[in-house]
Subunit: 343 residues, 2 copies
């Protein structure tokens, strides 16, 4: 094939355990041509999220799993390069489920049509996937709407140095909460302290459960769960009366299946509540969250980090960073340089 | 010792697994004498509840465990036989944590002072522990306040032929819910159908999980949990979007410790909520529930059964019925005949 091609990661089989490139076919196809009401989007940044891993697995979940042979589903930002659409004019930046590929064909009326980004952005383009995108909005509604923290509450966050966790913690601080992060390794914990967390617990260190108990002398009022497994177990032992557990994710379990086992007894004994949520339910309130987040970023009250991985072919590596815990903040794959892609 | 004595079941050691009489000292003491502001209560009926088993175990719970050497804690109804109290006049019936003994000394000002029952009762005396007592009130607030069923919802109840479960199901029916009970054995299931349950699943029968799936074609909107273990697992697989799980108890786990393991994944995937509660938090709203329950009983809209076991010395046997599932409805121990006990 000569000339520009559309590289696409097609799911070849359901991964067992850790994902490898062999689980995908790296297809090279022609760039799609738009019909009336359609546009072609050059993918610029992929959002790498734990949920990508869930979508590869054939279990009951909040969307159907990716079908074998289909392009891998993923949130992304891109620029319209070829348009026969009113909604998506050439040169517009869009955000949505564009998939792990160079070019996506989008349609004015599709059920998962991407959103057009405003002309002026509050943060750099890639951060529209992070602090002012899916990640930040997840942190915002998960903490405030499900966790309902009050000033003076103790809020504990697992995967606290991750994309969502680091934002959750800073929002908790802004709400007057004693904020404790659980993360793996001294570098991440140092960053959390830099962000103002009252305590950072390194779960890879000896005696971390005792450290968690010391950091939560009055128990845990809000526990924001991204991990599951023994970290969840340890936090559950510290739940305070009428604690709220925000179930955001269970990354400890996604490679081994998705069953997240845990201990329900503290929920009973402490009259506590555990509740799952999915950010797509908050579509109607998206702007509320983005406005608040953008304001906090502008005021220097929320800081964020990104781990940028270059190249579509490294998407699997980027995803595995989440499972290895080698990232700080949001992981994005830069598929193409924004400036080089304008039509 | 001659003359009347106060027989008392004192906790001798923490039971391992199934409770036996050897876990208690069956003491014979003199009947206490009231001082000013005190009264002596002849215990008539003991309320036998799964929580008795929890109180024997030294785990984190909503009250301290019973101390070794102390009389076994238990809800009961009795009659005042000897009084130097204004609050508890001789002849009054009282309800409270009187303990597993013949006579309890109660005080006007104690933190767990019993309540005086009204002179006219809506149900027989023993049922003031059941349908119009702790059991019924637990069913009422657990279902309505935590489960928040709407007309047309599917409500599933484990231990549905038990004291709490059988009332929960009938309240759900009164609220227009499709009501499915899970119970052990054909006799219990027949009773649930007689009460109007839309379906009764015998978890001891082959293929019961399929039967549960068939009985809940639209999933489960409210799951009222009394059991834990594999019954909870099966119900969790059927949770509908935004389901509410009422955590009332985990009797499957109380003999083996109290850790109730379960699967948190459906809570995440279905944006569902699991919440524990304890009925003592509803002290201020007690009359609301009793009034509603008494009205439904009077109108024939709620029916109840009791399993009455005679003799204080059989309290442990009575408790084990809950774990063996050999009871229908509320288990009470008749310690003394009400009529023979008037002072």
């Amino acid at each position: 094939m000569t000339g520009p091609v559309n590289r696409r990661l097609l799911l070849r089989r359901r991964p067992e355990g850790r994902v490898t490139l062999d689980d995908f076919t790296f297809a090279r196809e022609t760039i799609p041509q738009p019909n009336d009401g359609e546009a072609v989007v050059r993918v610029l940044f992929l959002s790498i999220d734990p949920t990508n891993r869930i979508w590869m697995t054939d279990v009951d979940q909040y969307m159907p799993p990716v079908a074998i042979g289909d392009v891998m589903r993923g949130a992304a930002i891109g620029i319209v390069t070829d348009s026969r659409s009113v909604r998506y004019p050439a040169g517009a930046y869009v955000s949505g489920l564009l998939g792990w590929q160079d070019y996506a064909l989008v349609s004015d009326s599709g059920p998962s049509s991407p959103n057009v980004l405003p002309a002026t952005l509050p943060v750099p383009l890639s951060a529209m996937l992070g602090v002012c995108g899916l990640t930040g909005v997840t942190a915002y509604f998960g903490l405030l709407d499900i966790g309902k923290p009050k000033s003076g509450d103790t809020v504990v966050i697992s995967a606290a140095a991750g994309a969502v966790g680091s934002i959750v913690g800073q929002i908790a601080l802004l709400h007057g909460c004693r904020t404790v992060g659980i993360a793996g390794g001294p570098e991440k914990c140092a960053w959390l302290r830099e962000l103002g967390f009252h305590a950072a617990i390194d779960y890879k260190a000896h005696g971390w459960r005792d450290a968690l108990a010391e950091a939560t002398p009055n128990g845990i009022d809000v526990y924001f769960e991204n991990v599951g497994g023994e970290i969840m177990d340890a936090a559950f032992e510290r739940l305070a009366l009428r604690a709220r557990v925000v179930l955001c994710g269970f990354i400890a379990n996604y490679n081994s299946g998705t069953r997240a086992d845990g201990n329900f007894t503290p929920l009973l004994m402490k009259r506590a509540r555990a509740e799952g949520f999915i950010i797509s339910d908050y579509r109607g309130r998206w702007l509320e969250a983005v406005a608040a987040l953008a304001g906090w970023v502008a005021a220097g009250k929320i800081r964020y980090r990104e781990t940028i991985v270059d190249g579509l072919e490294r998407s699997v590596d980027a995803l595995n960073m989440l499972f290895d815990g080698t990232n700080l903040g949001k992981v994005v794959v830069r598929v193409a340089e924004p400036d080089a892609s304008a039509p």
